[in-house]
Amino acid sequence: MNKNDIQELIAKRAAQELKGRCVVNLGIGIPTLVAKFINDDNVFFHTENGLLGVSDVSEEDIDPNLVNAGKLPVGEAVGASYFNSADSFGMIRGAHVDVAILGVLQADQTGLIANWAVPGKNIMGVGGAMDLLVGAKKVIVTTTHTSKDGKSKILKECTYPITSTRSVDMIITELAVFEVMEGQLHCIELMPGVSMDEVREKTEADFISDVTVAGGNML
């Protein structure tokens, strides 16, 4: 699979988590792709720069003053509303946003994540990440399983500064889906064609396998 296919696979799986009436905030990168796989009038996309009701936009309708948190052009869905940044983050901290889907640099086996700073590098952008972690009712991480140099992004412990003391609820990669339950990472699903051996080999973190094969044997 090329990079694009991997990203779409992850985004498509994350889209399956959005059911029923919900307000969803999408982060930059793979999370932004999730909207492509949603065709449900009950899913409302929120962007922290001040819009509830984000939709796609065609090339000819691009408005330079209508963008998402990644500063990419977006459209206005039916029933959309605009608001200032304090109101927008009030919605987030005040637990009015149901689901946040975020990218990470690292996640650990208790569900803590690091996605805002790399020591010694010029990554000095926290944006809305810390607010979303403390405020969103459910937090889903979408990420490639390993970094560009092949190292596991799901670690025993994050080595970069953490984004919050709150654990995320779910981690979706191109290899597997994990849920965080009582501070422990559980692998609940393998992506098509992936073996548990491969997941174990590419994951530094300890996790519990809840994946069952036909016949009910724990892998």
Binding site: N49, G50, V67, Y82, F89, N122, I123, V126, G128
Partner: protein, 230 residues
């Protein structure tokens, strides 16, 4: 409230070593005409409060390269590499705040509050040294209000009294900054007579606004261009 026709005149009261809020999320909703004037003004030692310090070589990014900024307070400095480079060289001080905290601190500053407690950032590097308080079993950190000497903001339309309305996601921090500075100058696409804006649509009432000026630099699909329909 004064309607200016000249950006240099609008920024006459802006001086070295002041704290200046500048609206916008990247270039969207940034007062590009007033920023352009700042790049021409003999001024330095500024503390600039803005979500980003512009983009590389654009908007506030020019002021960074001119070394007119002593300190930046914002939430996302990653998008302009020059900011990180100036910081590493020790030429620029930076204070990073979560975006929601940046916004709320402005709201508090404008509303006469000394600060507030928030859950955001608790237990992270950004809350180090900040006072903690447990309320109903939840830990919060204290964040002081933010105020400025001057706010340079961007709105869509103003009337001649200084009432403002905003356009789509170009609103962002602008209405908050309008409340939290001693002097507020708004750059707008259009100035209409008082009474032409519906009272229900006004987001920033005129009591917050000290000056307005028509935008000469606007953001288009092709980047920042001069507004020629004068």
């Amino acid at each position: 409230m004064k309607v200016y026709s000249d950006a240099a005149e609008a920024l006459q009261s802006v001086k070295s070593n002041q704290t200046i809020m500048v609206g916008g999320f990247g270039l969207v909703g940034a007062p590009l005409t007033l920023i352009d004037e700042l790049t021409r003004k003999e001024i330095d030692g500024l503390t600039v409060i803005s979500n980003n310090l512009g983009e590389k070589g654009k908007g506030l990014g020019i002021l960074v390269n001119q070394k007119k900024i002593k300190k930046g307070i914002g939430s996302y400095f990653t998008s302009n590499r020059d900011v990180g480079d100036a910081y590493q060289k020790g030429e620029l001080e930076l204070e990073l705040l979560p975006q929601g905290t940046l916004a709320e601190s402005m709201r508090a500053g404008g509303a006469g509050l000394g600060g507030y407690y928030t859950k955001t950032g608790v237990g992270t590097d950004l809350a180090k040294g900040k006072e903690e308080r447990v309320i109903d079993g939840i830990t919060y950190v204290f964040e002081p209000a933010i105020k400025a000497d001057v706010a340079l903001i961007r709105a869509w339309k103003a009337d001649t009294l200084g009432n403002l309305v905003y356009y789509k996601t170009a609103q962002n921090f602008n209405p908050l900054m309008a409340t939290a500075a001693d002097v507020v100058i708004a750059e707008v696409d259009e100035i209409v007579e008082a009474g032409e804006l519906s009272p229900e649509e006004i987001v920033t009432p005129h009591l917050f606004v000290d000056g307005i000026i028509r935008a000469e630099k606007i953001l288009t699909k092709d980047g920042v261009v001069s507004n020629e329909q004068k």
